[in-house]
Amino acid sequence: MKAIKNIGLLIFLVGLSIFTLLPLTGTFTLSTDNLKKVVTDQNIKSEIFVQELENTVVGKSFNGVSALSSKITTALENANAHHRENKEYNKVMYVGPHDMAATLAKASGEGFIVNNKILMWFLTFGLGIIGALVFILPNVILLGKKGIKNDGIYHEKATNRGWIAWLVFIYLVSFYLLLYFRPEYAVNWTYTLDPLSLWLSGNLAGHWFVYGFMYSVVMTVMAVRMYIKYRHNTYQMVRTTSVLFFQIVFAFLIPEIMVRLQMPYYDFKNIFPLDYDFFFQWNLRSLLNSGGIGLFILVWGIALTLVVVPVMVYFFGKRWYCSWVCGCGGLAETLGDPYRQHSSKSLFSWKIERWLIHGVLVFAVGMTLMTLYSFFTESSTVLGIKTQSVQNAYSFLIGAIFAGVIGTGFYPIFGNRVWCRFGCPLAAYLGFVQRFKSRFRITTNGGQCISCGNCSTYCEQGIDVRAYAQKGENIVRSSCVGCGICSAVCPRGVLNLENGPLEGRINPTEVLLGNDVDLMDLVNKKS
């Protein structure tokens, strides 16, 4: 069994290595025709840019994307500088230089990778999936009887911040940086997914399609791991199935199919303010120009935030979204599960958490108010501040760095919910409702707690669950995403996630059940 696992690991690493090397390989030649096509598609008016590309790029063969990319970005920046100087603003290209490089590179690829897309898919994603499954499936037998399977977590280098964890950390951070800021390097990956993308939406794959596909695949494979690890725990099985379903169907498939049907690309479960650009001008325009379905999406999006969130949180707690539906939560609960113990439980972290997450919420709401003001008054500034700059700052700092690079990259070191705990503005909003008006609570079972600390250790949201449980208090915390792991790992059956009446939900008691009844009265009277 161990041998099978090792073979799986080896296959996985081969797939991962090929995947990792792909951005550095490949031959790229931009033909005049392809350049023309991109110029038309992208509506490029800068003849200087086209001219420079014709001189430096067209017809030449580049090995690896980086040489090509530097030519394109320089050309674009030079052209833009020139047009700005001459005040030819209609010729300025507002697309990012690296996005332009990605587009042109995509049109220039040739050779083995482009001619063997399916084979390349198999050598990267295929081997990765097969290897990971071969690595994970023997656990059905190796893990033995049903029960809690946390043996050795603090002995393993992968799960105890050892060198493996640090390697994964570096890899993930680099991957996200590349994806957000150097998309041209993802071009070879996109080729491997062209067949699937064409079949789904009719378009060639872009780097966000690669990301969406990878996201779904990683979640699926790691969900298999969850199913095996928590096979005694029905709550975990049902919950995992739910997040997986919403990721694959709602986040990945439906938007692609909508594109095929000439509808706007939309993830029906992505809720503002997590979906921070929902009210951005270009999105509103696109929705308003898409007829009935656009209007429906507009109403749906607003209703999600204003009606669905409060009603659902009232009945089920924040968990209905954070650990049953949300994509960020879904990745955290599958890929991130081996790292959940790293969230800090200190009071200090809790303080930082409250400042940061509410800060981001204020930022998101403020930015959206500016956006709407600009949209309706058609002025590009609010009180002298450019709406566009605020949006760009948010997209960069929160959308890319916090949610992506830090949110996922930091899993192996700071736990799997860094974004959800410290950054997500939607989580802050859901949390308000959960804290002040919800039927959800984690009930503490009388006096049964032995203060062992398993619950606190494995709470991904850094809640010191034990601090409440050992006092006999229910846990009513805005940050709790209802993952149910504290309840699962408790060796004494102390914790239970429940939706019950509001009355008695918060129950600060001084003396625990099982003690002298009169003493309880005495102490509670005083406090």
Partner: protein
């Protein structure tokens, strides 16, 4: 300012300290020789098994003590001078007190077995024992087999710990069935099966005779009263614990097995009290034992004594008995009293149900005349403490319990529920016709 000194930073001593701080401004000092900070003894196993690091077993962050003005001293108390109200520490420091709380816990029982002092032989009680086990049994290459002597809660925990590193374990149990001095037959049998499922070599009705040394003074084998010799590298002695009170011998404080106290947790000497594992009641309370060595009772005594020390004299008057444990993968909870066959009262009768396939069962003890509920044991089913406690207080009969059993279920959402088959089994035995009522939040929260 009155100076309250507490010996022992376990759950009993620390609970007392915290509550005294809440109620008063007294000067509080806690002395302990085991660790700088309070930690949860019950979690030691999880550190060895890699579920947690030692720091995770500490329920309060390190700044907590200073902020709450609870002074911590890491030292061993050699002697209590009751006349001068002074403690003499091993480092020859002296500490004066106005009130003294003895909360020194327990120590593992050693029954004078030949070889019990050899290297590789150890109990499992303290942080130091944990460190010793890490040294003695880091992996299955160095520890090729371990023998555990004594079939109680700590014994089975130690077996589980060693198995988590794939170390072969032989488990010597004196009784005919695991822990059958506490558990009724059906349950005890089920645990026997479960222990064996985990590939633990369970030897019932077997006693340790001798531990044999190698040439370096290390244990290399044990012999049993079955005439068997078992080669091993580690011997775990887990035959119960007894109060850790030897250092009090000549202090004038009266001792039995533990420090003798009355219901107010007072010793024979004014201003000196004892709580937790080390306290022994002159007169046992109800069905309880005079020495109660469990987590919860230490905590309750700490809560009660804090009231007394802060001027509201309060007896230790615990409510209904409860306890819980985990046998490998099976969670166990008990409420009220369910006695095993060996010590069952003549009026006590049992209703027992066991799941046909899974390791799940329930035993309900009731009075044979009026059917009054006496206690409930569950294995693999979580029960709602509040509800069972209320049933006991209200002296409900077993028919009522069956009817409202669903109110007491505390298993997580989506788990399969067993009330239907439990009650069906009950009906078939007692010729009753009870249908279990739907779970009702209203009932659960009424007079909560």
């Amino acid at each position: 300012m009155e100076h309250v000194v507490i010996i022992g930073n376990g759950i009993a001593g620390i609970t007392a300290a915290r509550h005294i701080r809440k109620l008063s401004n007294k000067k509080i000092t806690v002395i302990s020789a085991e660790s700088d900070y309070f930690f949860s003894r019950t979690a030691l196993m999880y550190v060895y098994m890699g579920h947690m690091k030692f720091e995770h077993t500490q329920p309060y962050e390190n700044w907590f003590w200073k902020k709450n003005r609870i002074e911590l001293v890491n030292a061993y108390v050699n002697k209590v001078d009751t006349e001068n109200k002074t403690l003499l520490l091993q480092n020859s420091q002296a500490i004066k007190f106005d009130k003294l709380i003895i909360a020194t816990g327990s120590k593992p029982n050693m029954f004078g077995w030949p070889g019990q002092d050899l290297k590789g032989v150890q109990g499992l009680y303290s942080k130091q024992d944990l460190e010793l086990l890490e040294a003695n049994a880091p992996n299955k290459e160095i520890c090729k087999r371990a023998v555990i002597v004594g079939g109680g809660l700590i014994g089975i925990e130690m077996a589980e710990m060693l198995r988590s590193r794939d170390i072969p374990v032989t488990f010597l149990v004196r009784e005919a069935s695991f822990w059958d001095i506490v558990l009724p037959q059906g349950e005890s049998q089920m645990i026997n099966e479960h222990i064996r499922e985990h590939h633990i070599d369970l030897q019932l009705n077997t006693n340790l005779v001798e531990i044999i040394s190698d040439e370096n003074g290390r244990a290399k084998a044990v012999t049993t009263d079955k005439g068997e010799t078992i080669a091993c590298n580690v011997v775990g002695l887990t035959a119960g614990v007894s109060p850790n009170v030897n250092f009090l011998k000549d202090s004038g404080i009266s001792l039995g097995k533990g420090v003798l106290v009355n219901q107010f947790l007072e010793t024979n000497i004014k201003d000196i009290y004892a709580i937790g594992d080390c306290a022994e009641q002159h007169q046992a309370i109800g069905n309880r034992r005079p020495v109660e060595a469990v987590w919860y009772t230490g905590r309750m005594m700490g809560e009660a004594l804090a009231q007394t020390i802060c001027g509201r004299k309060t007896p230790y008057n615990p409510g209904h008995w409860f306890n819980s444990a985990k046998f490998l993968d099976i969670e166990y909870q008990t409420y009220g009293w369910v006695f095993p066959e060996v010590s069952k009262k003549e009026y006590e009768q049992h209703f027992h149900w066991r799941h046909p396939k899974e390791k799940i069962c329930i035993t309900v003890a009731y009075h044979k005349d009026n059917k009054q509920l006496l206690g409930i044991n569950t294995f693999g089913i979580r029960m709602r403490h509040q509800i069972v406690d209320r049933w006991l207080t209200e002296k409900r009969d077993i028919n009522y319990v069956m009817e409202y059993l669903k109110d007491a279920n505390f298993d997580p959402e989506f788990y399969s529920r067993h009330e239907k088959s439990i009650v069906a089994h009950y009906n078939s035995i007692f010729n009753t016709n009870i249908t279990p009522k739907k779970k009702s939040w209203k009932r659960i929260f009424s007079n909560a």
